[in-house]
Symmetry: C2
Subunit: 388 residues, 2 copies
């Protein structure tokens, strides 16, 4: 018998991959499920996308292989984006690598820096892919807790007490998912100093910086970050382009080159029309984000009403594409999520899938239009009347 790699033994299919199959089956059985579970932007991408793609299709080399580093135009546009929104100067020649989405960057970065048995600091709660990729490479996730009391930032004293001798990478993610906590620059500066002290690569996964924030954060705004940090950025949420698969790695030339070494053996460049279109979109004016965030603010009001109806508590002062809401009395939330799915036809993500620190929370997505949110509210009112 041909055996699979041992790395698969601890790897499960990604949660949403499994759960969405269940949701699909329920829908096919006639259930009118509304999906509040996943952060896949439903709003239209910028209008200019359509013309940009059509123009690019007729370039002479539109369907030919592209260079691993991406076209100059795209790297220059990302440098412009970092200047315009984060007030940072990034060298487009050496410090930027276009990716097919930032998720790819989690694997590539991990491959470039991890050996088997190395340890990786991973936030709890946090995006499940950090741990999944770590395990796929036979490295070891070491979870660190985020708490509501510390505004969902790492507890530095606790980190300092850990045995850090085998730790190679630390994942952070600000603005934070799933909690919606915005970056606290002072706290993150301390994490940078900690990473320098212990020679740990600090990776900030940063796909939510433009959503419901006033002052977009990049880790490179903080002194000395460039010595130890990489940042993953993405166009999925900022421009409603999740399926377009455009993301970026930003960091010092030496780190970026290490990742290119891996990437050049895994793919053969990005489709030119995608690159050219991404380059145009990255140069949009700030009012694109103002208008986008107006929509999300209105939707969030509705989610808050739904959460109120379910007697959940939440912080109104948060960022990102989700509302993170806790059960009163800190009861576990998974049962409620299941009941909402089976009894009220609402798919909401139980916070537990982001780690044990999320056990008493539900995560609601803002990627649902107001008409559907109205239906959700009605369903929740009915659910409450008959059940709670």
């Amino acid at each position: 018998m041909i055996r699979f790699s041992t790395r698969l033994a601890q790897t499960e299919e990604y949660y949403f991959s499994k759960k969405l199959k269940e949701v699909k089956a329920l829908k096919e059985a006639g259930k009118p499920i509304i999906n509040l579970g996943i952060g896949s932007p439903d709003l239209a991408p910028p209008n200019s996308v359509f013309q940009a793609i059509e123009d690019a299709l007729h370039e002479k080399n539109a369907f030919q292989y592209q260079a691993y580093r991406g076209i100059d135009e795209l790297r220059n546009a990302l440098a412009f984006f970092y200047k315009q929104h984060y007030n940072l100067s990034i060298d487009p020649e050496e410090e930027i690598l276009p990716l097919m989405g930032s998720k790819e960057g989690i694997m590539l970065t991990s491959m470039a820096f991890l050996n088997e048995g190395d340890q990786v600091l991973i936030p709890n709660p946090g995006y499940p892919t950090y741990a999944a990729v770590t395990k796929l490479l036979n490295a070891v996730p070491k979870f660190y807790n985020l708490d509501e009391e510390n505004k969902w930032h790492p507890n530095l004293e606790m980190l300092q007490q850990m045995d850090l001798s085998k730790v190679k990478i630390m994942w952070i993610n600000y603005p934070n998912m799933p909690t919606g906590a915005d970056a606290d620059r002072q706290k993150i500066q301390k994490i940078i100093n900690f990473a320098i002290q212990h020679e740990i690569l600090l990776v900030n996964d940063n796909p939510y910086s433009m959503i419901l924030t006033e002052n977009p954060f990049s880790v490179f705004q903080l002194p000395n970050a460039n010595q130890v940090a990489l940042e993953l950025n993405s166009m999925s949420k900022s421009f409603n382009l999740a399926g377009f698969r455009t993301g970026f790695l930003v960091g010092n030339a030496s780190f970026v080159n290490a990742v290119i070494k891996v990437k050049s053996n895994m793919d053969s460049g990005m489709f030119l029309p995608i690159q050219q279109t991404a380059a145009k979109v990255l140069q949009l004016e700030k009012n694109w984000f103002t208008e986008l965030n107006e929509v999300y603010k209105k939707r969030r009001q509705w989610i808050w009403k739904i959460a109120d109806e379910l007697d959940l508590s939440y912080d109104e002062n948060t960022t990102g594409l989700f509302v993170w809401a806790q059960l009163k009395n800190k009861e576990k939330a998974e049962k409620l999520a299941d009941r909402l799915l089976y009894e009220a036809d609402l798919f909401v993500t139980p916070g537990k899938i982001f780690g044990s620190q999320g056990e008493t929370y539900l995560r609601f997505s803002l990627c649902v239009d107001i008409a559907d949110l109205q239906v959700c509210l009605e369903r929740v009112q009915k659910f409450k009347k008959t059940n709670l």
Copy 2:
């Protein structure tokens, strides 16, 4: 200092990534280099591509995340393609996985099956990525020789004499690159039996099956292949869609599922318009290939003239996108390749980069139009007059 993974220590940047930078620099310095080195199809993709993409862009969910397995329409179209061209029935639900190019498949398959220290049988000459990916995963390449005398197929007696106890994967690639040898079904049947006997996963990398062949080959045409084999296929060469990044993995459900386990942690699905367009193109009639191959046949005549002028020998009875030509007296070819680049402004790939068995060969690409091939011939005639 933050250290890179040891896996990078043995990983070099992909040959073409480095060499094309040199070619680019020469061009920028005013040299009129003609690139006969790389197999990036220069011919236009099927006409239907443009309308298909434009139509797909306006689908409601065009820019949203897609499922890891790809849309049904695409997997069904690939099943149709396998029926029409290889006369094979493949289950589109379970036995097909769309990929962003078949190169990605080399990494995903290797990750799904290899542990550190496992050995991998790799053809010499062969596509350099097989060994590069193997080394990236800290597994061990074991090269097996292909010889012109055996029509560039593995020597089974030699394989049987090797210590196979640690061998996990064997890479084959028929129709073959760089040599152009078409699949010899009898010889490959023996390799399948060998793989069954030794419990080795046999992967046929199959991007050239539609180019200059009479009878398109798939490994699954042979009895029992389904027990031990996977096949990578690609639209890059068959449809002039190299930059579009569309490839496929085909094999039994258990193997395909193992690869999906890896893939679901690395990306978030393929751009819907790419999937829908690929689905349309896969259903093209056979005359698409007839016309495509007419062009390549004419170009090959010119390459043969160029090779004659350089006093090289080659087999006229070959397939694929390249002419594989040997120096008379079996001299090493790298020096000639360098002289052609620096003295005649022609970039030709030295066979050595595919392994030591390619040392005395040059590889010429058919992805150059007749006008340029005429110039190449003139330059080679002039080069010969002044040098040989």
